[in-house]
């Protein structure tokens, strides 16, 4: 039993790592642009498929970076042509816009790459199981966790030490003041959006290597990632990080005792957090 729990704990951390990547991107966009990006899961799939296209030409390692970058560029283009036009309007419009974009992107992916799933080939040395006892600890899964840690540390370093990162953080706290200081808020938001999409693309490549590609691959990650943000506290990226890990682990551990409830437990945690501590783990008071 203990072994089973340990297995699932680790498994939960891996699932949580995906939630973290997806919800951090969502959270960045939400914080600065006040937009819930329903299409986030579809950008994730796009990242995976772009890697699929690139790998034969440039190999796996470069694709791991280039595919998410290209996804970010696509996100950037969509932001400047469509999403940026509805800033300042009632939130209903951004919800509907990204909801519609999600449909369009999903169908476009299906149209281009087909309904059948596609495999995403990872290097052989990554796909081998490491040990027969700890079979779930194969190289790829360890690698995946490593990449997520690097990405998250990179993101926080970027936000803390780079000029743009500082502007983004300032913008989250008080957009008007940032604008008054002569910073081009519009551009800031576009780049921030592209950043969030980059993270989604990265998650897509990693997920593709694990379970393969299909047009709906991001769907099951999207809504739990909302919960990660709510539980972690709106406005706090560290909170989102904790939220993502919490629900990943909780879902995996529930799967040991009561498999049927492992999907629901995520939302039950959210309901409890809302009752006991409405602003979430690390949410700012008033940011709700």
């Amino acid at each position: 039993m203990l072994q089973l729990v340990l297995f699932n704990l680790f498994n939960g951390l891996i699932i949580g790592a995906f939630y973290v990547l997806v919800s951090l991107g969502l959270s960045m966009i939400l914080n600065l642009s006040n937009v819930i990006n329903f299409a986030h899961g579809n950008f994730l799939a796009l990242g995976g498929y772009l890697a699929y296209v690139l790998i034969p030409y440039i190999g796996f390692w470069p694709s791991l970076l280039v595919a998410p970058l290209l996804t970010g560029v696509v996100g950037y283009l969509i932001e400047i042509t469509m999403i940026s036009r509805i800033y300042g309007r009632d939130p209903i419009y951004s919800l509907l816009l990204t909801f519609g974009l999600a449909f369009m992107l999903q169908d476009a992916t299906r149209y281009i790459w087909g309904v059948n799933g596609l495999p995403l080939t990872v290097p052989d040395n990554l796909s081998a199981p490491l040990s027969q006892t700890y079979f779930f600890l194969n190289a790829y899964r360890l690698f995946l966790v490593g990449i997520v840690i690097v990405a998250v540390l990179g993101l926080f370093a970027f936000l803390r030490y780079s000029r743009m990162g500082m502007r983004i953080r300032a913008g989250i706290l008080d957009l008007d003041t940032v604008s008054a200081l002569g910073i081009n808020v519009r551009r800031l938001r576009s780049l921030n959006f592209a950043f969030g999409i980059f993270l989604a693309g990265l998650a897509g490549v990693l997920a593709g290597g694990q379970i393969g590609l299909n047009p709906n691959m991001g769907d099951s990650l999207l809504l739990p990632s909302f919960v990660a943000i709510i539980v972690g506290g709106m406005g706090s990226l560290v909170g989102t990080l904790l939220g993502g890990l919490t629900i990943g682990v909780a879902a995996a551990l529930t799967a040991v005792v009561w498999p049927a409830a492992s999907d629901v437990v995520v939302y039950v945690i959210m309901a409890i957090v809302l009752l006991v501590r409405p602003r979430g783990f690390l949410g700012e008071e008033g940011m709700q």
Partner: protein
């Protein structure tokens, strides 16, 4: 004379029909369109999007192939055959909505569908209420032709009892009696689990089963549990994309070195989509493209290859048989009425160019289930020169023997 009396394909009716068309265009839904130069319409509902789309696309291709073939040879009794395809999006509610639309608005004569057992079950009941002949090409859950069988519903694919019955003995012989099953949490998975349970426990075996959502993609937690159970064989009851994902993760965890892999359906589409290491185990196959010496099979395979650049699968055959069955039934009944067609299809035998099997293939009268030969055998990576050669049948099973009518639970009642 007989013609005119029973269905109305006589010349006079044709003329009347032509006159009626003008009127029907003005007030279509209020007037039942008279028979005449109106096309024969089949409404086909299948999950063209969602996790079972691989199978659905093949079924629709097979059906379209048959429609083209029939229309090229002059249609059905001189009338054009039309296929109206609707996407159920792998969702029961959508499927129910679509069949109502096909019947109420498009006035189709026959309905077909769905790959998803839950949808097939629900829409066939709508067709029953509306008195329309309904053919289920590829939804396997047993009650459709079992406890909930209905006079207007015919099924081409096997029931889960038939498939499980064909392959259980083989799985026990090759691997052993301790099984871990992963099944989709809906009508199909529920029936399939029960069927395997029936045969396995009768043989003195033990098992554990876990239900997963129909479109699940991450099986890591379940596989961890499966490994802890130390089974002889892992039974992959999932379908479509989910089955592919499960097979992939099974291999990733190196579990293929510790236990066997088994299934009822491990279809051509899915086998070709998994890595070579997962192209293994034992399964039943409901139709197979490589049947040397059986007439028309090669022609069908080449035809599908030319039309769709794909090898013909059991799903192509389901769609093909479905459309041809409508033609055969209409020609036999000389009518388009649901009741007449259903009577005509009872016991109807498929001609060799449609059956595409060595032995007799017919719709069993008592439960309206098509009685084919079931192939059971080994899944393996393709041979060098033949990329689609991924399955070898060990045994051929007579469907009627695996599941005698008395065991279906069906009590067929026709309306008075």
């Amino acid at each position: 004379m007989v013609q005119r009396k029973s269905g109305g394909f006589g010349r006079r009716r044709v003329l009347q029909g032509a006159a009626a068309i003008g009127a029907s265009q003005v007030a279509a839904p209020f007037i039942v369109p008279a028979l005449g130069e109106v096309p024969v319409k089949i409404g086909f509902i299948d999950p063209l999007t969602g996790s079972l789309s691989i199978q659905a696309v093949s079924e629709v291709e097979g059906a379209k192939y048959a429609v083209a073939e029939i229309n090229k040879k002059g249609g059905i009794m001189g009338r054009e055959l039309q296929l109206l395809v609707e996407d159920s999006a792998n969702d029961v509610g959508t499927g129910v909505e679509k069949i109502r639309k096909l019947i109420d608005k498009d006035h189709v004569n026959v309905t077909m569908g769905d790959v998803n057992s839950g949808i097939a079950y629900a829409i066939s009941q709508v067709a029953t209420q509306k008195g329309v002949l309904h053919i289920v090409p590829g939804g396997h859950t047993d009650p459709i032709t079992g406890k909930a069988c209905a006079w207007n519903v015919f099924r081409i694919c096997n029931t889960t009892m038939m498939d499980a019955g064909a392959v259980t003995g083989l799985l026990i012989k090759k691997y052993g009696k301790k099984w871990f099953m992963i099944s989709p949490d809906y009508a199909y998975g529920h029936s399939l689990k029960q069927s395997f349970q029936h045969y396995l426990t009768a043989a003195g075996g033990t098992f554990e089963n876990v239900y997963m959502p129909i479109a699940a993609s991450d099986f890591s937690a379940t596989l961890i549990k499966a490994r802890g159970y130390k089974p002889d064989v892992l039974i992959n009851n999932m379908g479509g994309l989910a089955q592919i994902d499960l097979a992939k993760q099974f291999v990733q965890f190196g579990m293929n070195k510790e236990m066997g892999l088994g299934a009822t359906l491990y279809e051509l589409e899915e086998i070709l989509a998994v890595p070579p290491a997962a192209q293994s185990g034992f399964a039943s196959m409901e139709w197979w493209w490589n049947q040397p010496g059986v007439p028309f099979v090669k022609q069908f395979f080449d035809g599908i290859m030319t039309a769709y650049k794909k090898p013909a699968s059991a799903r192509h055959w389901f769609g093909y048989v479905g459309v041809h069955s409508v033609k055969l039934a209409v020609e036999k009944a000389k009518s388009l009425k649901g009741l007449d067609l259903a009577r005509a299809m009872e016991g109807m035998e498929l001609p060799p160019e449609v059956a595409l099997q060595k032995k007799r293939v017919y719709y069993r009268a008592g439960d309206h289930e098509l009685m084919p030969t079931i192939f059971a055998g080994e899944v393996h990576p393709p041979a060098k020169d033949s990329p689609y050669d991924v399955f070898t049948a060990d045994i051929l099973v007579d469907a009627n023997k695996v599941l005698p009518l008395a065991e279906t639970g069906c009590h067929m009642k026709f309306p008075a």
